[in-house]
Each structure stands twice: as C-alpha cells, then as structure tokens.
Symmetry: C2
Subunit: 311 residues, 2 copies
Amino acid sequence: MADIMKVDQIQMRLLEEVADLHEVPAGAYNIRANGQLAGRVNSANIEIVSKEDGTGIDIHIKPGTKRESVHIPVVLSQSGLTEMVYNDFYIGDDADVVIVAGCGIHNGGDKDSEHDGIHRFFLGKNAKVKYVEKHYGEGDGQGKRILNPGTEVTMEENSYMEMEMVQIKGVDSTKRNTTANLAAGAKLIIRERLLTHGSQDAVSGFVVNLNGDGSSANVISRSVAKDDSSQTFLAEINGNAKCAGHSECDAIIMGNAKISAIPKITANNTDAALIHEAAIGKIAGEQLIKLMTLGLTEAEAEAQIVNGFLK
Amino acid sequence: MADIMKVDQIQMRLLEEVADLHEVPAGAYNIRANGQLAGRVNSANIEIVSKEDGTGIDIHIKPGTKRESVHIPVVLSQSGLTEMVYNDFYIGDDADVVIVAGCGIHNGGDKDSEHDGIHRFFLGKNAKVKYVEKHYGEGDGQGKRILNPGTEVTMEENSYMEMEMVQIKGVDSTKRNTTANLAAGAKLIIRERLLTHGSQDAVSGFVVNLNGDGSSANVISRSVAKDDSSQTFLAEINGNAKCAGHSECDAIIMGNAKISAIPKITANNTDAALIHEAAIGKIAGEQLIKLMTLGLTEAEAEAQIVNGFLK
C-alpha cells in the first residue's frame, strides 16, 4: 500500500491505528499525510473534491447511494506541523453509507504537532450514516500531540446517524466539540470512548438540538482517566419539539486523575422527554480481587477491566 | 396567638402556611413580621440574639441540646417592603435539634415585596439538625413576591443535616443558592420541592463540597413547572476526598413551561464516588386516562398526580 499511496512506514502504522487500514480501502478514500494529499479515489456515487481555497475537501454522496464507504484518514509524522482542515460531507437523500475518519500523530521531535479538523455533515431526507472517528498519538519527542476535532451535523427529516468517536491513546491535549441539529424524525446516536493518561487533558462537549417532532438522540460517553490526567465532559441536549433525548456519562478514575461531568438538559417544549445519567468512580475492589485470585497481577486486572469498559 | 405575638390575621395565615404554626410554638422562636420583631422566646439551651448592627439574628444552641426546636418564620404583608436578613445558627457538638424557617409574603399592592435571607449553619462535631424551610406567596396586587434565600452550611466531623426546602405556591421570582462544606464523616441530605406557575421564574443552585473522608451527600430535587413558568436547576458536587455523592433531579413540565437541569459532578480524588441523574418529562397520558376513568376530570387528575409527585 505504501507504494501505491505516498505514505511511509510510520504513516502506514498510524493509518492502521486510526482507520484499520492494512491495504488500499475499498470504496472512495482521501488520505492526507503531513498536510499533503497522499492518495484519493472516487467512486461512481461518491466524489471527493478539494476546496478551491485549499482548506479541505468536499465529499459529495449521491442520493440513493447504498452500502458504500468513504475513508478520509489524516496522519502527521512531521514534528511541529500545525494544520486546520475543513471537510464537508453532503449525503444525498436515501443514501446509506459508512464514513471512516481519524487522525494519527507521530511526534518524534520537540515541537508541538497539531491537527484541528472541522467536519460538517449534511444528511438529506432518510439518509443513513455510520461515522467512525479514531484519534491516536505516539512518538518519544517532547513535542505535544494535539487534536481538536469539531463536528457539526445537520440532519433532515427521518435521517439517521450513528457516531463512534474514540480517543484511546497518546493524545496530549484535545478539545472536542460536537453540535447536531435534528429535524422531524431524525435520530442520532453518539458513542464516545476516551482514555487519558500521563498529564493529558481532554475536554469533550456535545450540543444536541432536537428541533423536529419525533427526533431523538442518545449520547453515551465512557471514559477512563489515569495518572495525572484530567477530563471534562459537557453534554447539552435541548428539547425544542416532541422529542426524546438521553445522555449518559460513565467514568473510571485512577491514580491522581480528575474528572468533571457537566450535563445540561433543557425542555423548551412540554412534549420533550429528556434524561441524563452520570457516574464517576474507581474500579471496585471486589472486581480487582476476583481477577487477582485468577492469577492476574493488580496491574493486569486493572488493564482488563479498563479494556472491557471501553470496548 | 395574634394577641400574644404582634401579628395580624393575614400574617397569622402566612405563619400557618410557612411554619405550620397554629399557636405559639413549643421551644425557642423568633417571629419577624414586616421587618420588625413580632415575638421571641429563648429556652434554657437555645438563645436567640439580635445582631448588633440590626441585620439579623444569631441562634446559639448549646452542645448536647436534645430534641428541641427553633422556629424563625418571617412574614411580609406590607406591599413594597424589601429586606435583606442574615441569620446565623451555631449548633453545638452532639446537639440534636429541629429548625423551622420559612417566609410568607402577602402582596396586595402594586409594589414588589422582597425578602432575601442568608442562613448560615455551623454544625459542631456529631451535631444533628433537621431543617425545614417553606416559601409561600399570595395576594392580588400587581406587585411581585420575590424570595431569594441563600444557605451556607459548614459541617464538622460526623455531623448530620437533613434539609427540606419547599416552595409550593405564589412566589413570582426566586433565586435559591445553597452551599455546603462537609468534614470527615459528615452527612447531608437535601430534599427540594418546587412548583412554579403563571409567568414565575425560579433558579435553584446547590454546591456541595465533600472535603472529608467518609463524607456523603444526597441532593434530591422534584419540581413541577406549569403555564409559562421557567425553572433552572444547578447542582454541583465536588468530591475532594473518599466520599459518596448523589444528586437527582426529576421534573414535570406542563403548559408552555421551560425547565433546564444542569448538574455538575467533579471527582478530584480517586476515592470519590459520584452519581447524578436527571429526568424531565410530562405526565404520562396513561396515568391521566387511568384517573379519568375513575371519574376525575383531566384537571383533577393532573392536580392529583402533581400533589403526589411533590409529596
């Protein structure tokens, strides 16, 4: 694959981490490496076009496109690179597609590397999207690995979107902002998984506006904060119509970490039904002891519980 | 009773509403009517002293005082009266007392009537307090009935406080602020019940700091917003030690009301276990229909459900 697309071995490994890419992906794709286009393929139904001002790409998915996928991973292996990218997805009526994004940073130098990506999704009527976004950092340098993703979702009548947003390892600082506006009958599911360690800092914010009758949203966040890391979770659901909203934030705290969960549910309509749940706690001692009696060390037992929790 | 204490018939009715007083209370009391002292009695163990600067009263409860009560209701029947009062409660070690506060406003005029009361509680080691606070408004005047209570609680080791804070009717505008700091082993239970109607506006905020090992807090809010009223509920629990915190906000929305719930749980210690739950919704249709088949009108059925919910 590294032959076909202009990526080196480090970038190849990052692509595996963030987009599960071991070979050239099926379907349309656009790969960005160190700020440059490293490979692009369109399909009959999916067209990827660079923005004229060079700030990002537009992805046009034709109405009625079924069971196709788009991969648009970004990798940075050059220390000190800072970039801001705007990607817009236009998903036609009745389309049913999978979109895989993600960003991997290898920083072996002393300068900070930063990728700020703004993704905007426009879902047509009855369109269905599964969106997967993974963030990953590695490298021994003193330079920080910074990722600030912004996601804006506009959902027309009866559209459906499922988002999986994962940050598993190595990102020093992240500010995540996701905003969604739902028309009548639209349904949004967000699953976020976040792990911070060392002295990492993560802020994750969601604002979901349920504007149309019959719209619904389910925001589920699971996170683990280890060592001296800190996390802030903000989830806002506004019920402006006959709608249903649920948000849930479960967090495991370890070491000297700090976690804050600040949900906000607002009913501006009598027919809005909104629920929020949040829990922060450490791993229960009994769970650890149980696994340790099976022969695991305490560290192994913790790792197994954390992996299960974030799965 | 109106003979013994300097209160008139309107004030007498207000006292019944906010302090369940039909006669002179047993135990110590201090009754404030239209900004003036209308009656005061001390007991052997409980001494009520006016502050020298006239801004309020200090209530001293001797260590070891058992099964005594203090009533300190406030009534306003003069339109346009605005007052700010500071009351400080010093509860000695091992004391076990009931404190009943509350404020009733009758506003028959066109000017706003406002009572802002700041209550500070200092609980000694092992002290136990049950605190009841009721707010009530009435009167046909155009003037608003405004109540802004501030409550600050400082709890020493192994002290216990149970707070019942109720605002059932007729208060046009309220900003409630409650802050508590808990030392090791201290336990705080807050039950809030709030009903807003017409174009009323209520903001209720809690900040609970669990500073000592073994401290715990349970904040339970139930509210109903009718007509064009609006409510905002803010609950913040900070876990700074090995502690347990739970906050729960259930709200029924009716008419064109608006309700916002913004909890915040923060674990600054790995041994803090914090949980929050919130739910906003309207009365389920099936519940109404069930009561209506028993012969109630829709309005009667709604009233019965609301009363049960706020009980």
